[in-house]
């Protein structure tokens, strides 16, 4: 175990102004399982996505067995012996199991233009049986199988051709214990065959148990590489979060008391498969932070409060006794919501800034069902200017704005509505430092005006810097609660997250 099979040299990946991977030079050896860990947004998945051709590299390069590797799609990566099992669903409904396994590789079964479907099904079935997944039938539509079974199919798809490098990107979260064992068996088989696995997981114990070496990324940069046998979960956590706090944008007040007045009560709220038995109170003028790992259920909690979840149980009740059951009801009773998925759930991309800002307030500005355009213009202009949206005018399409300015449009919308409770999911996700500072300042101002904010965030510094109280979620449940104080650190939160 000393030959380097894969090397990244000064690798960078930028998304607009955001640098997701920052000058990463890393070596992977033959016949090893190499863990890759870091906080959300640390660049682990992006690093591997550039390796597998999902994203193009901004600068730098990968060297596979000494030769430069630059691929444009997963299939091209496969042909060079690199494959990935992704975090999300990587199979396609509407195709059979066999078609999914061999998608992009049909040429193996083609005679001219004719595809030998029988041979493809037989080969897929043989693979399924050799991996021990006999209950899956190759010729059946993949839609008939569970999420876990589809992950097992993905494992075959990514490994059947004996690749030199296999990336396992947070796959274990989708698997039951037996599914995980299957995956670890496959990983060991790849390693014993002299090939390499890059294993990404938030479960640090799992990473330590199943890897030979572990590399830690933080803010897109490589922190270091340690031997798994010589490290501990505590050390890894320290390496993951051990940066200096740069909290000059955050609140500096500590020990300020929050009003006793409860404005929102969440009682035993559950959403099937997402969150379980969530209960808490939100006070007037409070900033309540909710944090955790990406899939811990915090994002769904925001939706559930806003009445946007399906199959929600439990109750969300406002001060006056009104129970929130739907989005229109929530808006009518002064609740605002900004989704994490800004482009698809918060702004209407192919619409003007004016329309985006005015949308929930149209009823307030209409006169006998007739809209006053002048009123709409001045309303939109007032709040867009208040939020310093960088625009050519309120008629500019939102699609032309940067991420930060889109977020400002979302906040302008709810400022205009003068909502009393704001549920902000990842309010500063993917936006630059200046806009971040603006948004934090706005939150402080709203707090001072007695507005209550639920801030859902994957950024621990943000939670620590802005919240009066922090709830940490794990596996769909609240796993810890912290009151704002100067001694509270990221490490405290992580102990409840991981």
């Amino acid at each position: 175990m000393s030959d380097v099979i894969l090397r990244s040299e000064n690798l960078y990946k930028h998304f607009g102004i955001t640098t997701a991977v920052n000058d990463v030079s890393l070596e992977f050896e033959k016949g090893e399982i190499h863990g890759l860990i870091g906080e959300n947004g640390s660049g682990k998945s992006t690093f591997c996505s550039t390796l597998c051709g999902i994203y193009p590299i901004s600068s730098g390069r990968f060297l596979l067995e000494g030769k430069e590797l630059r691929v444009r799609s997963q299939v091209e990566a496969n042909r060079h012996g690199v494959s990935i099992i992704v975090q999300e669903m990587g199979t396609l409904p509407g195709l059979t199991v066999a078609e999914n396994i061999f998608l992009g590789e049909e040429d193996k079964f083609m005679h001219g233009v004719v595809k030998n479907t029988g041979a493809m099904n037989r080969e897929a079935q043989r693979l399924l049986e050799s991996y021990g997944f006999k209950h899956i039938i190759a010729s059946k539509m993949i839609d008939n199988y569970s999420f876990e079974d589809r992950k097992l199919i993905e494992i075959i798809k990514a490994t059947y051709f004996t690749p030199k490098i296999v990336v396992v990107d947070e796959t274990t979260t989708a698997l039951s214990q037996s599914g995980r064992e299957e995956l670890f068996t496959v990983m060991d088989r790849i390693k014993n065959g002299g090939n390499t696995v890059i294993f990404i997981s938030h479960d640090l114990e799992e990473v330590i148990d199943h890897t030979d070496r572990i590399s830690i990324l933080r803010d897109g940069s490589l922190v270091g590489t340690v031997k798994s046998s010589e490290t501990s979960a505590d050390e890894l956590k320290r390496l993951m979060v051990g940066r200096e706090l740069t909290n000059r944008y955050y609140r500096t007040d500590y020990g300020q008391s929050v009003s006793d007045e409860i404005v929102l009560s969440v009682d035993n709220v559950s959403v099937p498969g997402e969150i379980q038995d969530i209960s808490f109170r939100l006070h007037k003028g409070e900033i309540l932070g909710i944090g955790g790992l990406s899939e811990c259920g915090m994002h769904e909690t925001g939706k559930a409060i806003f009445g946007a979840s399906y199959g929600r149980k439990g109750s969300v009740t406002l001060k006056g006794g009104y129970e929130v059951k739907s989005i229109p009801g929530a808006i009518k009773h002064s609740i605002a919501y900004a989704s994490k998925d800004r482009d698809t759930e918060s702004v209407i991309i192919a619409n003007s800034i004016r329309d985006n800002i005015c949308l929930p307030s149209l009823a307030d500005m209409s006169n006998h069902a007739l809209l006053n355009n002048g009123k709409l213009d001045s309303f939109a202009k007032k709040f867009a200017e208040l939020m310093s949206v960088k625009m050519t005018g309120i008629d500019q399409y939102v699609s032309a704005l940067s991420g930060g300015n889109k977020q400002k449009v979302v906040l302008s919308r709810w400022l205009g509505k003068d909502s009393d409770i704001l549920v902000l999911d990842s309010p500063t996700r993917g936006i630059d430092v200046k806009v971040k500072a603006d948004i934090y300042a706005l939150m402080s101002e709203l707090k001072a005006r007695g507005k209550s904010i639920i801030m859902i965030s994957e950024e621990l510094q943000e939670l620590l810097g802005m919240s009066d109280r922090i709830l940490i979620m794990k596996d769909g449940r609240i796993n810890g609660e912290f009151i704002r104080n100067q001694n509270l650190g990221e490490k405290d939160l992580i102990t409840k997250m991981v």
Partner: protein, 327 residues
Amino acid sequence: MHRINIVSESFLKFKTSKYFGFLVLVVMTLFFWGFFRLLSPSNFGTSRLVISYFQTSIQYAVGGCGLYFIVVMGLFDFSVGANIVLSSLVGVLLSRQFGYWGLIFGCLLCGTLIGAFNGILYSRLRIPSMIVTVGLMLILESVANYVVTLDKSGFPGKLSNSNILAFGHAPWNYLAAGIAFLLMVFLLRFTKTGTYCNAIGSDELVAKNMGVNVERYKFIGFVLLHFFVGIMALLTVSYGRGMLAVTGMSSMDRNFKPLMGTFFGVAFKKYGCPVTAIVLGEFIIIMIFNGLVALNVPTTINDFVTGAVLLTIVSLTNRGLKGSVVK
């Protein structure tokens, strides 16, 4: 208890097989036949009439097969009806000189070329397929009106020679439609095209990442659609002994009957039997339509019932997950 478990497991297995989809379609066919036969025994559902319904339905089913390629990719084409009109008229025009060969190749070639044109325009203009094809529909209708003026036979657009009407009745209509259905099965099951069209419809980005040339297969989808439309035009013009050129988007009416079959195909795709679903789906729709006529139900009510039955069947067999965005 063990026995019950085995039975329920076997049923679950059967429920996800293509035989289940086929069984559902056959049961629905028998149900609607039985229902109308019971209510109107004298003028519905005799063997002669059932054959007539089936012959009517197969022409739409051929078009439905073509539409499947693009509907499954999330696209749509409003120019199908206009293509049927234009391809039919070109076929008729060429049949004056070349007989059957002129009719067949006129319909098929014209249809396919229009498909290629649609595909190129869609990929070059990069605007939604609905908008592109509405524009094309207007253009094709105008071209069809021009083609009619080229026919100097005295019966423009009419298949006046009775020796050239073979595709209007058995066995040649069955042969043409049968070849189209077999070709559809072949394309879906034994070529990359079928797999890739389904993959693009499921998730275009993932398909792209898997190396699928999305633009190319969308183009192929349009070409195949209109090749099948060419076959449908051959049957339509033979059934009707001619074709009238129309204007003002009137050709759009011809889009919807084949589309109904496509909806059945998409709904039963998960059972792996889309072609059977298109053919039997069209047959069911035509039976309902004729059953209501047999009951003297006014056309407006007829349309209402046919539409309601279609929506019910498709929504029951193809219900999306809660919260999923349905476009």
